[in-house]
């Protein structure tokens, strides 16, 4: 059962993507795990997509782009996958502003009620909430690969929140922490602390998870004790 759609990709690269939030002022939480159902190149096509072939809206696109259609993908696929093919990412930035970035907004000095009545146009029509997410891996043949995907997510793909099970599966290995530490587009310590807490929640507050994630970080930050300490202090349960 898929979770609710929360955004749509409007800009994508291998390492990150930017999406428009479905709800104004309500982007996914900072540090949360999101996914984009992914249909990569022919070599990485998953049987899940094949099984869902009837509904696959991208099938015709792929064929048009020189990929292989459903007929090929149905052959010899017997392993029952546990995860649908997707790109996983962690929300590292969100912002709300005018749709037209060339125009700056001005203050109205009114309360929320008055604003809604007097300026109904200042809603989804003129304003937009965007969020940025760092790609941490993708799933292929039902297993999570802690590698950047071979192709970036497609524009206008739907972004959804990851389920608890998916978060547990993704965080069963923590190689993505290195990707986050080295990211330049986001406040790395804050993103790591926030995503560790999300994973901790998804795992029903499993303290051992925090310890093992911390140990992974300690390995990565062995020359930077202060940074390690800063992250661990943020996630330490009271």
């Amino acid at each position: 059962m898929d979770s609710e759609i929360i955004g749509e990709i409007i800009e994508a690269s291998t390492t990150d993507f930017t999406a428009e939030s479905k709800e104004l002022h309500s982007p996914p939480a900072f540090g949360s795990f999101v996914k984009v159902v992914w249909h990569g190149g022919a070599e990485s096509v998953s049987p899940v997509a094949a099984d869902q072939g009837e509904d696959d809206p991208f099938d015709s696109f792929r064929q048009a782009a020189g990929g292989f259609g459903r007929a090929y993908r149905d052959e010899g696929k017997s392993v029952a996958p546990t995860l649908e093919p997707a790109i996983y990412a962690i929300v590292c930035q969100a912002s709300t502003g005018p749709v037209d970035t060339g125009r700056r907004l001005r203050a109205f000095w009114k309360d929320e009620e008055e604003m809604r009545e007097e300026h109904p146009e200042l809603s989804e029509w003129l304003l937009v909430t965007r969020f940025q997410a760092l790609t941490i891996g993708h799933s292929l043949n039902g297993t999570v690969q802690q590698l950047l995907p071979p192709q970036p997510a497609k524009l206008f793909s739907q972004v959804r929140n990851c389920t608890k099970e998916e978060i547990t599966e993704i965080t069963s290995r923590l190689d993505f922490l290195r990707t986050l530490i080295n990211s330049r587009n986001a406040p790395a310590e804050e993103v790591i602390a926030a995503c560790m807490l999300k994973a901790y929640e998804a795992r029903n507050n499993d303290f051992d998870f925090l310890v093992s994630a911390g140990k992974e970080l300690a390995g990565l930050l062995k020359d930077d004790y202060d940074r390690l300490q800063a992250i661990i202090r943020r996630v330490a349960p009271c």
Partner: protein
Amino acid sequence: MLEHLNEGNPGARHEVGQITSGSLTKGLRMKLHPSESVEDIRAGKFVVVDGEKHHYFSMITDVELSTSGSGIEDNPPSRQNRLLQSVLSGTTAYGTVELRPMLMLPKEADGMDPEDNLRPVKTIPAHFSPVHNATSQDVSRIFGEEQKDPKYFNIGTPLDMEDIAVCLNLERFVERSNGIFGKSGTGKTFLTRIALCGIIKNQKAVNLVFDMHSEYGWQGDFEGGRANVRGLKQYFGDRVAVFSLDPDSSRRRKAPIDFEVKIPFSQITVEDIILLQNELNLTPTALETCYALVNGFGESKWMSELLRMDSESILTFCEANNVHQGSLSALQRKLRVLSESCKSFLVDDLQQKIDEDAVKQILSYLDGGKNVVLEFGQHTQPLRYMLVANVLTRRIHESYVRKKEESLGGEKAAPHPLVITIEEAHKFLSPALASQTIFGTIAREMRKYNVTLLVVDQRPSGIDPEILSQVGTKITCLLNDDRDIDAVLTGVSNSSGLRGVLASLDSKQQALVLGHAVPMPVVIRTRDYDNEEFRQSMGLLPKAELRKQIMEDIERDFS
């Protein structure tokens, strides 16, 4: 998730870490596995490094706390921050363990007889080789199994392993002189009893025990309030004969004895007197005076004659033999002290005929394969102990040399290997005396004549280093004094790692065994002496069965 390597695979060996660096001469360094507590790693523990081509059987010699990050030592995590502490321990702050590889066994020899394939370490395992706790199988592969071969004798268990025995190879044990060392009260006597029981039970040699404190023959004390423990006689019955210098003491202790020892003056030689030079405070000229007396009166009478001399005969003798009068008088005074001090067993055979020569009796027992324990009773002063031990041993030495030479000539069988146990050995084997006393000779070369020593001592630094380096197997309980530790490790290659192990032994029932009779040094928890299991392994019946048998015998005899 960083699951522990050992989880989910219960049959596997327990991994404790990985080799990260090391050298053949300085030993290996292992990084402790993050899930292992540094407090479970103890000096002396026995571990196996799983190299690519060999298993390396190693001993832990040092444990260290290390940190890899800068700043952590200046700014350690607060004690409230449990998460940070858990995160750092095992990663940035971790345990490092020094290992000393002792033996290697090729992996291709798995399943073959390990005795032929165990080799001294000539190389080291590759980087990141896993290190495991030793299993019972490893221990039995190296130290042998009592059940499979009677030459192996259980003397205890490795540290932290209760279910497997470390065995001494008794054949090798009796080939060389051996030492049992340790501070007072660390269990030397118990260890010695266990070793003697092994030798007697498996008939690898006959024993002559100079039992200074009367602990080996009939029964001994047990520190800590328990009743007395059985001595060798109670275990082996007529295979052990108890001789006594002090029959009164034996009677008081209700300990049966087989023979009362008397030593005639005629048996005492100049060498015996020299051995006592410290105890009697003799001057160097006393030696010359003694030889003049031997020349004058002959070997068998010199002492009786000297003690009988009055001032006039001293003067006459001095003039005739060109001896200084003062020195002869001094020697006479001192030997009178000796004869007075030992009068209960030292007999002037010119005046009093003694029935049977104790030395001959002891020798005939030893020839018959019987073990002899010589109790000293009240005569525990070093003077008496040394005199008796030296006189007897010298005669036994002569006899063994003769027999061995006869056997080399093809006339007779070689004599039974003999193990002579001496306590307070530093008094006989001190650097000043070792070259002169018979014990020094035995320690150095008598294994060729089938005689070896079992030296029991609390002060090994007092023993001549030349002799210590020839000691085959050393069983060492706790020693604190640096000089003693140095002395014990004389003649042991790469001994630096063992120093720490030796100094960190428990004060009771723990010992480091190294040398000829074990393939590699090992720390053991000494086997319990005189408990039900020990009694049964020595061939005594369990208590219940024994009672049943006695009742049956009584019924049979009286019905």
